[in-house]
């Protein structure tokens, strides 16, 4: 009788598949160092090809900008009332993409979600470089770029300071603060890793890392201060990130133009930002995993968690999107309703429907495990989601100009031209260049955090197995 019972237990155990682990906790710490430092070695030819392609794209964008700077913004086919065009839309897109790094580094840190540990470093780098790219657009879209410093409150003999009631000045302050804090956060979190690089480097690189690692020796005092500082920075960074994109949203929300004057814009923009950022993280995850052979660290279970997070955010975005339509549809402003109908049926209708399908329907592929774990499909899906989010920014800016309050100003057929598209492609080239440089100079996986993750999981598993009743008779 007892034997039959044991057979049944064995059969149950054989049917039971252990859940895929986020990371194999048997990886030794030494192996982590070796694997990640290997990514900093001399790059292969493919790296240089992609780098120079990005540089070429950036230079094309630079040429377009120089032409525009010298001749005037009219070469971008901007007119009255279409005064903003793609520059503002892409500016918002880049700021939006920067939020995911904060989400992963700071928000998941506070929630003690340790699956973020192998992936937050490159996400945080993405944040910093997105902000730098967004800063380019602030300059590109100005009529008199050479006087951009008027927006900064510097000691002026004319006793004229910027207009603090303008959302663009709030933008300048918020984005400046966010960029500074992001760089500080990224750099500070890298200090123990830079110490590892210092200990393994030679020549001028050793000096470079020695200077950057701020005398890190791994002492307990350094660690305790580090831990408190890092946590405090994360707690400060989260409200800052939320406020940055809310302020960018107020660029539109404080205006009384139809289609913009909605109080749901700040949360809508923040949700869109988190959404596009998460999609970008999935893209970069897949690229880095393949390029640097980080399969043991950027594992499929972590990708799955990322996909689930992206799906949740996509549903939040969808809700806020639909709520905006509902508020306008059942509201009292007939012109805003007309603008909404114009979006759905007018010149830009194709783009509007594309945005809604890419933003609300495509994320459902993230709910199927078979699709979620398929790397090529996830690469395509993440790029489509980001495309949808870029279109969303375009659909916020342009249709309201095309269909405002004043009938005489309604325009039907405005489209951007090659100058605008060229500058936008140049911005992607710029971002790519910065990111590739980062991946080769700094470790794109956080070594000490992965060591912590592996250590804690191993300890937890060992203590759990020591608690299990012994099967010895």
């Amino acid at each position: 009788m007892i034997e039959a019972h044991e057979e049944k237990d064995v059969a149950i155990e054989q049917r039971f598949e252990p859940k895929a682990k986020d990371i194999d906790d048997e990886i030794s710490w030494a192996q982590i160092n070796v694997d990640v430092l290997r990514s900093l070695e001399r790059p292969r030819p493919l790296y240089w090809i992609i780098f120079f392609a990005s540089l070429a794209l950036f230079m094309w964008g630079g040429y377009c900008e120089v032409y525009q700077y010298n001749t005037g913004l009219g070469v971008a086919d901007l007119d009255n009332p279409q005064v903003w065009g793609l520059y503002i839309a892409t500016f918002i897109f880049w700021i939006g993409m920067s939020h995911s790094g904060t989400l992963l580094s700071a928000i998941l840190l506070i929630m003690h979600a340790d699956w973020r540990k192998p992936i937050y470093r490159f996400a945080e780098a993405m944040t910093t470089f997105s902000l730098m790219t967004a800063g380019l657009f602030v300059l590109v879209h100005l009529g008199r770029v050479w006087q951009f410093y008027y927006v900064v409150a510097y000691p002026s003999e004319r006793w004229a300071w910027p207009n603090f009631s303008s959302p663009l000045v709030w933008d300048a302050t918020a984005i400046g603060s966010y960029l500074t804090t992001s760089v500080i956060f990224l750099f500070f979190g890298m200090i123990p890793d830079l110490a590892i690089c210092r200990d393994n480097a030679t020549g001028f690189r050793r000096t470079f890392y020695r200077v950057l690692s701020m005398g890190w020796r791994g002492t307990d005092r350094q660690w305790s201060n580090f831990r408190v500082t890092y946590l405090t920075l994360a707690c400060l960074l989260i409200p800052l990130a939320v406020s940055v994109h809310s302020i960018v949203a107020t660029d539109f929300a404080v205006s009384q133009q139809p289609g913009w004057h909605t109080t749901s814009f700040p949360p809508y923009f923040v949700a869109g930002a988190l959404y596009s950022g998460c999609a970008a993280i999935i893209t970069l995850f897949i690229v880095l995993r393949y390029t640097f052979r980080f399969e043991h660290y950027m594992t499929i279970p972590i990708l799955e968690k990322l996909c689930k997070l992206t799906f949740a955010i996509s549903m939040v975005w969808t809700y806020l999107n639909l709520i905006e339509y509902a508020a306008v549809w059942y509201g009292t402003d007939p012109v805003a309703k007309q603008t909404l109908i114009f979006r759905a049926t007018g010149t830009y209708a194709g783009w509007w429907w594309a945005m809604n399908i890419l933003g609300s329907v495509v994320p459902f592929t993230l709910t199927w495990k078979r699709l979620r774990t398929n790397i090529p499909i996830m690469l395509v899906v993440s790029l489509l989601l980001n495309l949808g989010m870029w279109i969303e920014r375009f659909m916020i800016v342009t249709p309201t100009f095309a269909h405002g309050y004043y009938p005489w100003t309604w325009t039907q057929g405005w489209w951007p031209n090659w100058v605008q598209v060229g500058i936008i492609l140049g911005s992607f080239g710029w971002f790519n260049m910065l990111f590739m440089l980062f991946c080769k100079i700094f470790p794109s996986v956080s070594m000490y955090e992965v060591k912590e993750m592996v250590y804690h999981r191993r300890e937890a598993r060992k203590s759990l197995s020591s608690m299990r009743p012994s099967t010895d008779p």
Binding site: G72, V145, D251
Partner: protein, 294 residues
């Protein structure tokens, strides 16, 4: 940075505009009345504005792309969805001269990042060309879209020699990248005020006119000082029962009740455009009452 000043003047610094009777004690508040019944759409006002304010003629191609620089534009409207059966289909348009409404609560003033636009003590919305960095937020926020951006560097191409001799020396010639708009011919106003000041008096009604008011052959555009209750413009505003600092006029509330009863008062035909956006514009338009065939 005197904090004493900040604390002692706190209430004055916190007052919003517009206030009712804001211009009670002020010497000047410039305003206009435009009679749409008298306007024939001849564009003399637009041409005068071009001449007076050094506006560049952008050419046919750029005009059709929407990059025109006309501070004062004549808009043409034909009833919605009506088909014209006349020999010339464009006949029967209603004309509306539209320029910067010099709003008391201008949406453009609060959003300029560098403070290139604000309100002057005599009630005009000012544009400071040398402070403007060309972010175009003011134009984005303007509900009337009466702000015009210099998309190209017109000084180098719009006035080939000897046309530069026609330029008005009292008005800046704007380079690329700055925003401009109707200023109610502020150069004329400044000159008139300064002349009046040397004679120790205020500017008399009719002494100074904007270029458009001066050029109009049917006297459709009336310009004057709203703070002077004896001026023609002030009398017209009062007759039309339009108050500067009200976003919904009392007569409109009563009109809704009257129209329900079947009564209309054709004499009360003054209105301000997009008044419910609470911009408090300084231009009253008198509704057209003649029929379209005329």
């Amino acid at each position: 940075m005197s904090l004493d000043n900040l604390s002692s003047n706190w209430s004055k610094l916190r007052t919003r505009r517009p206030q009712p009777d804001q211009y009670q004690e002020a010497p000047y508040k410039w305003a206009m009345v435009i009679d749409l019944d008298a306007c024939t759409g001849c564009n003399a006002c637009t041409t005068a504005c071009y001449a007076e304010n050094n506006l560049p003629v952008v050419g046919k191609e750029r005009f059709s792309k929407g990059q025109a620089m006309h501070w004062l534009r004549i808009e043409r409207y034909w009833g919605e969805g009506t088909e014209s059966t006349q020999e010339f289909p464009e006949q029967g348009a209603q004309f509306l001269p539209m320029m910067c409404q010099q709003c008391e609560a201008a949406p453009c003033e609060i959003v300029c990042p560098v403070g290139a636009t604000h309100h002057t003590p005599d009630g005009l919305n000012s544009q400071v060309y040398n402070r403007c960095i060309g972010s175009r937020y003011c134009s984005a926020n303007c509900p009337y879209k009466v702000r015009y951006f210099n998309w190209f560097n017109y000084p180098e191409s719009a006035w080939p020699s000897p046309l530069e001799l026609q330029l008005n020396p009292d008005v800046t010639v704007r380079s690329k990248g700055v925003m401009e708009k109707c200023t109610f011919c502020v150069q004329r106003l400044t000159e008139a005020k300064s002349r009046a000041r040397t004679e120790k008096r205020l500017v008399k009604d009719g002494e100074v006119l904007t270029a458009c008011a001066q050029a109009c052959p049917t006297s459709a555009i009336h310009f004057g000082n709203l703070a002077d209750s004896s001026s023609a413009v002030a009398k017209m505003w009062k007759a039309q029962q339009v108050e500067l600092s009200a976003d919904k006029q009392k007569k409109d509330e009563e009109r809704e009740k009257d129209e329900a009863l079947g009564k209309t008062d054709e004499a009360l035909r003054g209105y301000r455009i997009l008044e419910d956006l609470r911009t408090y514009p300084s231009v009253v338009y008198l509704e057209r009452i003649r029929s379209s065939e005329a």
